[in-house]
Symmetry: C2
Subunit: 334 residues, 2 copies
């Protein structure tokens, strides 16, 4: 039998800011021989996530990727060979298989088995994966939303943001989204049901937030940081919660950029600002997935996917994300 | 009977930054006639607190003082007349009686009755008052200290800070204090039992924090904000809690000063930064006072007082506080 070929995306340099295609190299290698206790996964879907910038930075990141490695990524694929007692050939799985066509990994790389046959497998990289579970976990645990509260979401049309907006709305909150184009504004109103949407490239953010949040902002789900967040934070309500989930608007943290100090606002509003990383919440992952699956089935939660075809579209995909060109969860179909 | 004279400190202008003697005027008036349900308190001790700057600023403060008012202040005094059913003449009380020698107030102005006869009444303005209860409440509720954790305190020798350091130490934490003079460094080691003390005027804060907090900072009790806090925050441990209790190092918040953005640190360390104002915690006030009284009686908690004599020393006292001239709780004895 002819040996299978494995196309991989290798990290060849650390980006100084946003990773671009130049930081990666596409290579063709033989598929590795399986070791004991490994499985061979044929990837069907690769994920592209804003967090990848952090993984590639050489700072104190929680999930650093080394130069020379295959790019770290969540993927959905099918097990085509198994030396592991717990995993069967033919199972569909979601996990840390990397930007490559075939992955020889240990079972620990699997985040979850994709068993629902009525839901599209790609959803497990988006609304039923990292994005949706991040939205549900952070909103619930760090935000503690209550009916009637005002929830502001930056990157409101994105993979995480669109889910946050819908979950908050389903809980009876007023939802206000911030996004970057008229196309995304429409998606926020029509698909994701926001009460108000602000185009931060054309609207005055401060006066728009003031108009749409007359009682202040109770929860700010922040995926951007920077000047967008500065404007929102000035309007925090007493007891507000700021969920720091991403910093997409900041090009580089070395040296750390400056902005208005938040201490006085946190103090006078008795507000809380807290960082969230999903990896800390593995114990509740499956339970949030089940909740989200049910919301999808009952049509209370919708999603958009932005798909490109072929692994050659992966190296430039992070930079595209940061240019705001995607509408919905960014995926690569193999 | 000759009418009693009341010496009052009136607010005559809003400060643009730190309040100085020029923002106040000392006046002599007749003691007001008591209305129904009022009590007349002869003040014995007046408090001077860093928070007064915020009360006098015309921003969104939680406890603004208007121009023309007697300066808002906690005091300890004795009830010398009572038209209120619930309060008896002769009782010693601590409450919002203002910078004046006599106060005609409703019973709601009382924060607590001072019933312990074995403890000095002035303590109810310091270690058994706003300062001690702020320290105990914020450290417990926002900090959740655990034995073995590293707790860093700014204004470590001050009224709140010295109490935080001792409470954290009593709970088995490593305590590191930041203060502004060699005299205060000595007080921190000798009186307040800190494990390490940093003089932020002469030491390099960043390298000192790194040396004294090898596993990072688990709790940062922040009374200063500004560059001192910037240096501490860079060394937060995973899961750290920053208690934003004061902003003493910032001269003015209008316009808001800039500093390094904290988002990335909060995110990568999954840290929490939260504002604390004691007024939100009235329901637990008495219980923390009881805990602190017991610690004083058993010599597990000590304190320093910086006392000046006479109401004429009040107008300049806030500026003195911000110049760092006091050692311990700032009080005025009448």
């Amino acid at each position: 039998m002819k040996a299978l070929e494995n196309e991989i995306v290798r990290v060849i340099s650390r980006p100084s800011g946003i990773p671009t295609a130049e930081n990666f190299k596409l290579e063709t290698l033989p598929v590795p021989e399986l070791e004991a206790d490994q499985i061979l996964v044929r990837n069907e879907w690769l994920s592209v996530d804003p967090a990848m910038r952090g993984w590639l930075a050489d700072a104190n990141n929680y999930a650093s990727v080394r130069v020379g490695d295959v790019m770290r990524s969540l993927c959905v694929g099918t097990v085509i060979e198994s030396n592991a007692a717990t995993i069967n050939k033919g199972e569909r799985v979601m996990g840390w298989f990397g930007w490559q066509t075939y992955a020889a990994v240990k079972p620990e790389a699997i985040v979850q088995t994709v068993s629902a046959s009525d839901l599209a497998p790609s959803l497990y990289l988006g609304v039923l994966g990292l994005n949706g579970v991040t939205a549900a976990t952070a909103l619930d645990k760090l935000g503690s939303p209550k009916s009637g509260e005002t929830v502001v979401v930056s990157t409101a049309a994105g993979g995480v943001g669109s889910c946050v907006g819908q979950l908050a709305k389903a809980l009876g909150c007023r939802t206000v989204g911030l996004t970057s184009s008229e196309e995304k504004v429409r998606a926020c109103y029509e698909a994701f049901g926001y009460d108000h949407v602000i185009n931060y490239k054309t609207d005055d953010i401060g006066s728009a937030i003031k108009a749409h949040c007359p009682d202040g902002v109770d929860i700010y789900f922040d995926n951007t940081a920077g000047t967008i967040s500065d404007a929102v934070i000035r309007h925090l309500a007493i007891g507000a919660r700021v969920i720091v989930c991403g910093t997409a608007s900041i090009q580089s943290w070395d040296p750390p950029p400056v902005g208005p100090r938040v201490n006085r606002i946190l103090l006078t509003r008795r507000a809380r600002m807290q960082g969230f990383i999903l990896f800390d919440h593995k114990d509740t992952y499956a339970s949030y997935v089940s909740q989200l699956e049910e919301l999808i089935r009952t049509k209370k939660l919708t999603y958009r996917e932005h798909i490109t075809e072929g692994i050659h579209t992966a190296p430039g995909a992070i930079a595209e994300l940061y240019r705001g060109e995607n509408l919905g969860k960014r995926l690569i179909r193999l």
